[in-house]
Every structure is written in C-alpha cells, then in structure tokens.
Point group: C2
Chain length 162, copies 2
C-alpha cells in the first residue's frame, strides 16, 4: 500500500468508528435526556406545591417565547420577563395554601431538544378569602433543552369539566 | 506540494464548504419548516370547521403517542389507532354544526423536528339536541415532522373560564 491508500483507509476507519460511537452515544443520550426531562418536570410541580418563587424561577427558560395558561387565565402569559416571571408570585399570593400533585401521565415524549408531558394533576388549595378548591386538571407541559439543561417553556392547565 | 498534502488540503476545503452550505441550508430549512408548520396547523382547524373526518385523519400522526384533550374531555385520548381516530367522528356526530376559528396566536415555536402553537380559538356550534355553543378556548397544539411532513401529535383545548 502506498502512503495515499493508507491515508484514505485511515479516514474510512475513523468514519466508521465515529458512526458506531454516535449510535451508542445517541441511545445513552436519549435515556439520560428522558431522566432529565422527568426530573425537570417534577421540579416544576415541587416548586408549585411549595409555593416557592425561587424554585419556580429556576425551572423556567428565560425566553420571550415561554407561555403559561392556568385554570383561571383570561389571557395567555407570554414571555418570561414580560409575564411568566410575575405569574407565579401572583398565583402564590392568591392561594396561601396550594398543593398540586400529578395523578397520571398520559404521555411523555422527546424529540431532539424538545419534550412534552401531558397528564392529570390534582389541585387542593385555599384562596386568600378562605374558599377551598379541590379539583382535577389536565396539563400540557413543554420543555426545551437549553445548553445542557431541560427547562419549562410552556404550561397549559385547565380544570376538567364536570 | 506532494500528493499527500494535496489530499489533506482537499479534505479540509471540502469540510469548510460543507459547513458553510449547512449553515445556509439550515436557515432556509427553518423558514420552510415554519411555513409547513403553519399550513399543517391551519389544515387541522379547516378540517375541524368542515367536520371532515378524512381531512382530519390526514393531519394526524399515526402514532401511539398522540394525545387529544378537548373542552369536555373527562380523560385524555391517547394513541392514534386506540383513541384519536375515533375521537373526531364522535365530536362531529355530537355537533352537527361546528366552526372553530383561530382568534389569536400567542406563540409558534419550532426546534428540530418538533413544534408547538399556543393560542385562542373561537368556537360556535350546535349540539344534536339543539343547544347553541359560543365560546372562546385556549389551545396548545404540538406537531412533529415525520418523514418530510409536519403532523399533529397533540391537541389540548379548553373553554376559557368566565
């Protein structure tokens, strides 16, 4: 073999090795992404039930495209800085007692750097004026991987019609 | 320059050309994806207002992970074949008159092979028993690119609380 053949053979071998490595590492990445998505999603519900403004701020993407629609929303809150940052403190102020627990997950799906989780949550709360709330709601949550972190970019929840 | 240097130089030049081409083509792809997403989303609402079972079937991904939650759903419809395929004919049978028009889009976002659209729709309908419906609803719709087509994978809509 001459020097040129050796170089070409070397490049071909490196390409094959890279493909094999990429396939294995894509599978590992997918499993690790799914765990990170579930953890990020659980952190959102933990922050909600803890009425923790700081923990809630930590789970959201600081992006102008994030959206929140809650059970009593009259308009969508669009943009982290413009709307979503203030949305949660207002919810926590309105509901001095609040717990929201996931009761069932209909679907968790990821494709590339996006993911969505759809399911049912059970809300038990008390308003500032003392009114007790106790209901099931559907939620659709969307997450995006930004840098190496999965963050919430959309939350849509509504009380299940009776 | 010897033959080996020429081969290495050629490979380097090809790599740079590929990167430059990929950047331009990614931008063009993104713009063309956004148009295709908007068209697929509009086709869903057109099928809804036309009460057209065939047109509605054409906009959905034939996947077990698709989910629909409508304004009067008590449970999420999960899976195309198992639930979503039957969901729409039942809606159309329940509502002999139905029109649903998008009144505003809060956000349309795409990342890779996924996209979501969140907004408000206005529903005007009449039930089989003659009851008139006229209300605004929030929707969160999720689409996925499968092969070269953008298809609906989730629809969550609920009547805006008064």
């Amino acid at each position: 073999m001459n020097r040129l053949s050796l170089v070409i053979l070397g490049i071909a071998a490196a390409s094959i090795a890279r493909l094999v490595f990429a396939a294995g590492s894509a599978r590992a990445q997918q499993a690790s992404d799914m765990n990170a998505i579930k953890a990020a999603h659980a952190a959102f519900y933990a922050a909600l039930s803890a009425r923790d403004v700081k923990a809630m701020a930590a789970v959201w993407a600081r992006k102008s495209h994030v959206v929140v629609i809650g059970p009593v929303s009259k308009a969508a809150a669009v943009g982290y800085k413009n709307a979503v940052a203030d949305y949660w403190p207002r919810v926590f102020a309105r509901l001095p007692e609040l717990s929201s627990a996931i009761s069932s997950i209909a679907q968790t799906r990821t494709n590339g750097d996006m993911a969505w989780v759809i399911g049912t949550e059970h809300v038990v709360a008390r308003t500032r004026s003392g009114k007790a709330l106790n209901y099931s709601a559907f939620f659709t949550d969307i997450l995006e991987k930004i840098g190496d972190r999965w963050l919430m970019v959309a939350h849509h929840a509504h009380r299940i019609a009776r």
